[in-house]
């Protein structure tokens, strides 16, 4: 499944731009509840030979279980060194410039860009 949409959050893969988008608020109860989203990320990553782009620029809120799930996913990408990973954030969403840079330390090849 390449799309997860529910009340307050959406995750979808756009094949044209080769980007996975996350929007809304992620407040799942515990890291295990993030598994369907991580599965979607992994599904896209495994189909791509060269690059993976994650656009979080419309993700208004991410709780610590989400930061946990995201950091585990980023670490797992170390086993796919051929993949160029880009993460897109927004400076207008305050948590992003506080918390996303930590992920670059987990995967130094990760490109973090702020769209605004």
């Amino acid at each position: 499944m390449l799309e997860i949409k529910n009340d307050g959050y959406q995750v979808w893969n756009d094949e044209v731009s080769e980007t996975v988008f996350c929007a809304g608020s992620f407040r799942f109860n515990g890291v295990n509840e993030y598994q369907p989203i991580i599965d979607l990320f992994n599904s896209v990553a495994s189909k791509s030979a060269q690059k993976l782009a994650l656009d979080l620029s419309k993700l208004e809120f991410l709780n610590s279980s989400g930061i946990n799930a995201l950091s585990r996913f980023i670490i797992s990408l170390r086993s796919r060194p051929q993949l160029q990973v880009t993460m897109k954030g927004s400076k207008k969403i305050a948590w992003q410039s506080k918390s996303l840079p930590n992920l670059v330390r987990l995967l130094p090849s990760l490109q973090l860009e702020y769209l605004d």
């Binding site: 610590s64 950091s71 969403i93 305050a94 330390r105």
Partner: protein, 207 residues
């Protein structure tokens, strides 16, 4: 003789006495069972409520205040959400209430969350607190993320990361107090204190 009260991290009630006002919310434990949305509603409400006071204070002394109002609101929301989630997750006595008090202090917003915890979990939890309150925050955060990856079954690791992000990403100080509960040796009362700074100059932040 067993210690009646133990504190970890930055736990000082002195700053509370200088608070201009406070807001207290008390939830029956059942408020959140099957109603996870109430966590975000509560966190967002607190963030909106206190942002209005911060905004008018910041207008009078913009250079002194450390954040834009939107940024401050975002941190209140994150910290409150994390503290409430933890209180709900670990609250052991389902018949008791979870108490949340937020103090608008001198240069800081102070959150106090009270919940019961199981006495036999205390030792391990206190070890975690020792671990995350000693050392370089940068390194603690990254190594916790690395550990979480390796130990995917561990749930306490998840809480460790939440507490570390409160300190590292949002600049808040954390402290914890453990107290006995009269007549209930299997329980302890945990009070978690988070102090989110509002002003730049460190000497204005009471410790």
């Amino acid at each position: 003789m067993a210690t009646m009260v133990a504190t970890f991290g930055d736990f000082s009630e002195e700053a509370l006495t200088k608070a201009k006002f406070h807001l207290h919310l008390s939830f029956p434990s059942s408020s959140f069972a099957g109603r996870w949305k109430n966590v975000s509603l509560s966190a967002n409400y607190l963030a909106s409520f206190f942002e209005t006071f911060y905004r008018s204070d910041a207008q009078f002394s913009p250079t002194q205040h450390s954040h834009l109002p939107e940024e401050f609101q975002s941190s209140i929301s994150y910290v409150a959400n994390e503290l409430i989630e933890n209180a709900v997750k670990f609250n052991f006595d389902k018949s008791s209430e979870i108490g949340l008090t937020v103090y608008y202090g001198e240069g800081q917003l102070i959150f106090l969350v009270c919940n019961s915890i199981e006495a036999r979990d205390v030792t391990q939890f206190q070890k975690l607190l020792e671990n995350i309150t000693h050392g370089d925050l940068d390194e603690l955060l990254i190594s916790r993320m690395e550990e979480n990856f390796l130990n995917s079954e561990s749930d306490s690791a998840s809480s460790g990361l939440g507490l570390l992000t409160i300190m590292h990403d949002h600049g808040a100080k954390l402290g914890w107090r453990f107290e006995n509960v009269a007549g209930k040796p299997g329980l302890k009362l945990l009070t978690t204190m988070a102090s989110l700074p509002m002003v730049r100059q460190p000497e204005l932040i009471a410790v």
